[in-house]
């Protein structure tokens, strides 16, 4: 048992434990950063496997992604700090059994498969080989993927921008009517439109009617910011 083996077992155990804790904690921020810890352990295992660039880049990328994910969760999800304990799982028992079975199956597959023993030579220029692969044989794949991702990002920013071609998008730019001067074509949004709000994250309402969150289409029912009229029924706070 060399130091590398010990490090491998410690990191793997930590990755599995933090991965499990992601689903057990109530606070979303804790869950996000436990996931980051799990990924960091995997990245460090990558360093052990002589894939130093992949390992370090994994940590780098995952830190940024988890930070953004955490921030978006705080912005848009209800109860991000887990102040009230939440049960957000469906078919709890079935999913535990399924999870354990899959874990057992995959662990068995890994342990029982004869894996090759092919240690990387100590003086092999791993980074150089990776670079030549990225910009040589696989250049088409990576460059098109890069440009596609960039186009997607730009498109998302443009689509979500408030300034539209004909004015602010939330000032009610609507499609023209079917007849000249007639009402705008297409489906009318109910009430204020964008209050899918906290109920809209599908299926968190194991309790409280899912239909109830349609009820505040009146828009103006947000009087008393911070006052919570709902008692368990998160649809009803407009009253």
């Amino acid at each position: 048992m060399t130091m590398t083996d010990v490090a491998f077992y410690l990191l793997s155990g930590f990755a599995i434990w933090t991965g499990w804790r992601v689903f057990r904690v109530d606070s979303m921020i804790r869950a996000t950063f436990l996931l980051l810890l799990s990924f960091t352990s995997v990245g460090l295992i990558g360093l052990l496997l002589s894939a130093s660039y992949l390992g370090a880049a994994t940590i780098f990328m995952m830190a940024v992604e988890m930070m953004v994910m955490g921030l978006f969760m705080v912005m848009f999800m209800m109860n991000p700090a887990g102040l009230n304990p939440m049960m957000m799982v469906h078919q709890h028992r079935l999913s535990i059994v399924a999870g354990l079975l899959i874990f057992a199956a995959m662990t068995g597959a890994v342990l029982l498969t004869p894996l090759p023993s092919d240690p990387v030579a100590a003086d092999r220029p791993v980074l150089r080989d990776l670079g030549i692969e990225l910009l040589g044989d696989s250049m088409l794949i990576f460059e098109t993927a890069g440009v596609t991702l960039l186009a997607t990002m730009l498109g998302a920013v443009v689509l979500s921008s408030r300034r539209g071609r004909f004015g602010p998008t939330d000032a009610g730019s609507v499609p023209p009517g079917l007849s000249a001067g007639g009402p705008p074509a297409g489906r009318q949004p109910k009430g204020g439109g964008s209050h899918g709000g906290h109920g809209g994250h599908g299926g968190h309402g194991g309790q409280g009617g899912k239909g109830a969150h349609d009820g505040h289409g009146g828009g103006g029912s947000h009087g008393g910011h911070g006052k919570n009229g709902g008692d368990g029924n998160h649809g009803g706070h407009g009253g």
Partner: protein
């Protein structure tokens, strides 16, 4: 470099650097005001001891674990950064052929640590400081990526040791003049200072540190000072030639260069105001990032 020799040396350098950072802050502050410098070297130490002796306060329903550990994460990242810096040819505590990428990863996790420090107290000012910082800290990190890659191009390697060796003929600050100023902006963002201090700012009554009393305050400030030392050491390594220099031993040159970068950062901290968030975002994405691309282009053309 073996751990037995390297780790104590690193911690010794870090301690001296911490004291130097605190003394520089006080001394330069007083010089700018026009008051006598006085006991600037020991006043920070007195404040440290005084704060350590005082009560540790709590807010209601904080995230206790993360509040306790956030300065620890920050300090650990500073130690990792300093461990990547080569003190002599082929001698650094963490010998990795992708040390530039690992430093980038450390920068990314700094944002996480600062966010957790602001999230934990469960109070409005720390929280505003935390997520405001994320909006600025993440794009500033992109700047550092590009300038460090530009610094790596002449070395044909992502290893900081090779980057230093490639500067034997000419320092990177001369052949890539845009690199160091941009990296100084990154250093200020990483250490929550001056124009990039959106986390611990005066308009939020201390921001993420607004609820920190006594030992918590000292832990966080120590971690900040440690990150200043580490980031300035990386700047000295990547742009000022690290341990290269005549006559004096390599580690002394490295220390002097790190000190010079620290003086520059502290001066900028005191002399440059902080813009509102929207203006800073525009500045970073529309002005600084294209300048970073230009720096990369210059480096690439130089390598042809």
């Amino acid at each position: 470099m073996s751990l037995i020799v390297g780790l104590p040396a690193l911690l010794a350098l870090l301690l001296i650097g911490l004291w130097a950072a605190a003394a520089l802050d006080t001394a330069i502050g007083r010089l700018i005001v026009g008051r006598p410098v006085g006991m600037a070297a020991t006043d920070p130490l007195r404040a440290v001891v005084a704060d350590y002796l005082r009560q540790r306060t709590d807010t209601e329903a904080p995230d206790h674990l993360n509040w306790l550990l956030a300065p620890g994460y920050y300090f650990l990242l500073a130690v990792v950064g300093l461990a990547l810096v080569p003190f002599a040819p082929d001698q650094s505590l963490i010998a990795l052929d992708t040390s530039v990428v690992l430093w980038g990863a450390a920068e990314a996790v700094v944002v996480v640590a600062v966010f957790l420090h602001g999230w934990s107290p469960n109070a409005p000012f720390p929280l505003i400081g935390a997520y405001r910082y994320v909006a600025i800290g993440l794009p500033v990190m992109l700047l550092s990526m590009f300038v460090l890659i530009a610094a790596s191009i002449p070395a044909q390697s992502l290893d900081l040791r090779a980057v230093v060796e490639s500067q034997r003929g000419l320092w990177n600050v001369i052949r890539q003049p845009l690199g160091l100023p941009l990296f100084l902006a990154v250093v200020m963002s990483l250490t929550l200072r001056g124009p990039f201090d959106y986390a611990d700012s005066a308009d939020l009554a201390g921001g993420t540190s607004a609820e920190d009393g006594g030992p918590r305050w000292i832990a966080w400030q120590t971690a900040r000072a440690a990150m200043l030392v580490a980031a300035c050491a990386i700047a000295a390594t990547a742009f000022l030639g690290g341990y290269l220099g005549p006559v004096l031993p390599g580690w002394l040159w490295l220390s002097l260069k790190t000190l010079a970068v620290m003086v520059a950062v502290v001066l900028l901290t005191h002399l440059v105001p902080r813009m509102p968030v929207a203006q800073m975002l525009t500045l970073i994405w529309i002005v600084l990032l294209p300048i970073a691309f230009l720096d990369l282009l210059i480096a690439g053309l130089g390598a042809l």
